[in-house]
């Protein structure tokens, strides 16, 4: 783990202790079994708000603590270990980043305090096809008096059913596949013409498809600059990706710990199975991968905090490396557990399913390897 400040260490301890005692994996299972609305426990979400986690990226002037992305990542890692989902990432990380990066003073003053106190839940609505590709935005925003009329469909919107406000990437010019001509809008989910369909996914998290049928917004709904929103969108996405990178660290870490624990206790052929060299070597390879994954994930968060120029490279590096590690760790989790890992009664399957969802969102490993190569110019 990165060398943390004292404050960061305290927050990590708080997050670890809260997650293991108040939001352990058993709560996730219960949530899944009971098909809880929006796929999270409202009281857990309220606790996060009460602990101030929703304000970590918000300036003190707007009621936050402004502690930065590495601090936020430390919390997400602990939540990722227990598969605790909530609007925290979508709203307090992605939403807050969108407002800080692109919001006018008025927008920030209006919305950031509401993110902090939880009265608003923001989320980003970007993808329209089955695979992440921000340049392919096609949802139309047509000029309509002083405002715009939005028509189109967004898919797999994180916390899309729970959100009170969407940051919508829409096309005001150009055509799908072009970076120019994209504009971001702030759209309340209660606006007329919006239809949401909550999705039931393998990883039991709250995604929704959202349809916009001529949804009217005013000119003040524009976030950033008209037609020139791609750079802003990509910067918001990079912050969201870095957050997911931290969450993936936690998810893969818990999967790996579960695996090692099993290797130490399960007996086969008269020996603890961890004494089989082939399994020991595979565990050693996973451990090496885990160390590198951590370095990359933390470097991405630190680059954002430092305002570094290479945030996109660092983020794509992290998403590819952490994603690959999570993929491998979740596969070995099942294989090394054998039959018991295949049963729903055991927890291993939860990690496998969540792993593939985390790999896919905001760009899978292939997406980020391609992006990295292009950023490096080859």
């Amino acid at each position: 783990m990165a060398a943390l400040t004292e404050e960061q260490s305290l927050i990590r301890d708080q997050a670890k202790s809260w997650a293991t005692s108040e939001s352990p994996l058993t709560k996730f299972r219960k949530m899944r079994d009971e098909r809880v609305d929006n796929a999270y426990w409202p009281d857990a979400w309220q606790s996060m708000i009460d602990m101030g986690w929703t304000g970590i990226l918000v300036p003190e002037a707007h009621g936050g603590s402004d502690l930065g992305y590495l601090t936020f990542g430390v919390i997400l890692e602990e939540l990722g270990r227990q598969l605790t989902a909530s609007p925290l990432l979508a709203s307090a990380l992605v939403g807050a980043s969108a407002l800080r990066l692109g919001g006018s003073e008025g927008q920030q003053a209006e919305f950031l305090p509401r993110i902090v106190d939880g009265s608003s839940v923001f989320t980003l609505a970007v993808d329209e096809g089955p695979r992440h590709d921000p340049s392919k935005v096609a949802l139309k925003a047509e000029k309509d008096g002083n405002g715009f009329k939005l028509t189109g469909t967004k898919g797999f919107v994180l916390e899309g059913a729970a959100a009170t406000d969407f940051v919508v990437a829409a096309r005001t010019g150009g055509s799908a596949g072009e970076e120019a001509g994209i504009t971001l809008f702030l759209v309340p989910s209660a606006a007329a013409g919006i239809t949401r369909t909550a999705l039931r996914t393998a990883d039991s998290r709250g995604y929704a498809n959202v349809q916009f049928d001529g949804v009217s917004v005013g000119g003040d709904a524009v976030l950033g600059t008209v037609d020139d929103g791609f750079g802003l969108l990509d910067a918001i996405l990079d912050r969201g990706r870095a957050g997911f990178g931290a969450e993936m660290l936690g998810t893969s870490g818990a999967a790996f710990d579960m695996t090692v624990e099993y290797l130490k206790t399960r007996q086969q052929f008269g020996r603890v199975i961890g004494s089989f060299q082939a399994l020991g070597h595979r565990a050693a390879e996973l451990y090496t991968g885990a160390e590198h994954a951590r370095s990359c994930a933390e470097a991405a968060l630190q680059a954002i905090d430092a305002g570094a120029a290479d945030v996109p490279e660092k983020v794509s590096l992290a998403m590819a490396m952490v994603g690959d590690h999570l993929h491998g760790a979740s596969r070995e989790l099942i294989q090394m557990h054998g039959g018991i890992g295949m049963t729903d009664e055991y927890d291993a399957g939860f990690y496998l399913k969540r792993a593939r969802a985390l790999e896919a969102i905001f760009g899978n490993q292939s997406f980020h390897r391609e992006r990295y190569a292009r950023l490096l110019g080859y």
Binding site: D127, P130, I334, G341, S366, F367
Partner: protein, 404 residues
Amino acid sequence: MSEAVDMTDFREEVRTWVEASLPEALKGASVSMEADPDPALVEAFDQWRQALAAKGYGAPTWPTEYGGAGLDAQHARVVGQEIAKAGGVNHIPLITGMGITMVGPTILDFGTEEQKAKHLPGIASGEIRWCLGLSEPNAGSDLASLATKCEDTGDHWLINGQKIWTSGADISQWCGALVRTDSSGTKHEGISFVLLPMDQAGVETRPIKLISGASPFCETFFNDATAVKDDLLSDEGNGWNVIKRLLQHERASQTSAGGPRAGSEGRTIQDMAKDYVGTDAEGRVDDPDLRGRLTRHIMASAAHALTTDRIREEAKGNVNVTAAASIMKNSATDVTQTKAELTLELMGYQGLGWEGDAFTKEEIGTVRDWLWGKAISIYGGSAEVQKNIISKNILGLPEMTQKG
């Protein structure tokens, strides 16, 4: 590649018979027996079963006196080919559970004349479904450390213990179970293989829910279950040899790769990739990294198919029990699991669906198959056990793992 023996006449004979016997309603690959409870279909399936059974084609290579057709492997293949050409399926291996593929061949190997006469015809005719009670909760890949007790009470065997992963136990009529008749020796000694009916008070089954959802697997509890004295297969204490042979039959039946899903509707995985991912100006799947891994998978799949053909040809048609079974099991597993992972990946967000109208049947099926497919490298001798077998039995490297 050419047929050493001229099959023309036999092929013609079979073709004529299939034409006359296969009900029209069963022609076409999409007809599924289990998913479709249409009474007319049920009747057609039973009519077809009787026709197959009458010819001995349910188990074509078994001797005629036990309900088979007494054919060699090459002739048996012709039967399968002609049924397939007509759009039909020989469903007897499916509806008898482990009967045709594993229990029957093992009874042929080890059974007494009486056992063969008692058990094989019901399997060959598709009337008796069998399950296998092998694994136990604390044994896993280490089958030999089993604890289920089987005592000789004088006039019958008394069985107590628990089995897990008994596929189809809740719908089978009979079970072949690995039991301990003596605990005084090493763990491989004192094991026997007993045949017992499932419909008795001492047997209870409980289906297992898997990470992919409902499953055919059960936990099976023997609580003073009984078997008649004559239903021990092979000698008391010789069960380890029985099971080794049975597992060879299992591996031989598991060497075909490729799940049913991707490509099942005639769509190749590369066509699905083109649909979901899109193509670049040169018509290539517009994700170079995914495309590269697709190519590796498609090549591995083609290689696996070529090796299957080659082994079959080298063995002159008798591929059932060979040293190659372990490599083919692992390679089939790799191909199937990789295909599932790639299909999931190319579907992107749509490859995360669990239920609901936002996902197609194919998408949800892909997710379920992907999860279910993780079991392939675990059951029937895990990938690790197969590698142990290859290094020890094929390459002749010294013993590595089995200590007991």
